[in-house]
Amino acid sequence: MESSSTPPTRAQASAALAEAEATRAKVAGDVVLPSGFTASIGAAISVQIGTAAIAVGEGALWVLAAGLAVFAVVGGAQLLRFSRSNGVWLGGLVNQVVLGAGFAASWSHAAGLVVALWAALTGQWWLVVVASLAGGTGYALAGRRWMRTYRAAPQEHTRGPSTAWLVVSLLAALSGLILMTLQP
């Protein structure tokens, strides 16, 4: 059992706390995204939006599955690169940057998807491409913004929303897309 017979003086307490907080700031400051991290996530999201739109427009469920597989592979590979190069794991990065649970990322994705789906159903394929690219770009930019927010206050952004919430959201979105794809 640990014990402390004499409490620290004000100066000692201040120094200990300052040292701890400075080290935390350094740890957060040293966290860097591997090159091309947000760009590849954004590109994978563009592919996912585009393939979802094609799947709904053409009624081809396998195209939807292929787009999701591309996103899963790219996201998994980038997270592996991140953890190996930084020696840390950030739940907030997974939720906010890769899975897009943040406000800006989720709205970029949703807006891109809605426009792309409408465009596919009305046969405007050029608009599918534009909406997919715009959705992916917004997603990538939201990821970069989250990293700046994280560095400013790491202790507040480490974890992000709960995994259960994300799983429910993803399942709901996926179910909606599958139902739309299977519509005659």
């Binding site: 059992m1 706390l17 740890v27 840390v88 739940g91 480490t158």
Partner: protein, 96 residues
């Protein structure tokens, strides 16, 4: 009644270790060692002491054939650290 300092965080290195862990979900042992600038054995001792009271947990992993250890702060550890830091701030501010 005045809240007491948590004896497990009184050592400055343990306070720094736990505070570092609030910035991440988990950190590799070597990352923490470099951040704290201590030897493997010293860090092991601090991690073991905090793990013993349930403030941190560790899990083993493998990277390029090399065994790695990942350390994370538990919910109990996070709560205890917040309480300890609050007492430290009161002490610094001169609040009895």
């Amino acid at each position: 009644m005045t809240p007491a300092l948590d004896p497990h965080f009184v050592a400055p290195a343990r306070l720094t270790l736990a505070t570092m862990l609030t910035a991440v979900s988990a950190a590799e042992f070597s990352t923490l060692r470099e951040g704290l600038q201590v030897s493997d054995s010293v860090l092991s001792k601090h991690v073991s002491a905090l793990a013993e009271v349930g403030y941190v947990k560790s899990r083993k992993g493998v990277h390029l054939g090399r065994r790695t250890t990942w350390i994370s702060l538990t919910a109990k550890g996070r709560k205890a650290l917040s309480a300890h830091v609050a007492v430290l701030r009161d002490l610094i501010d001169g609040i009895e």
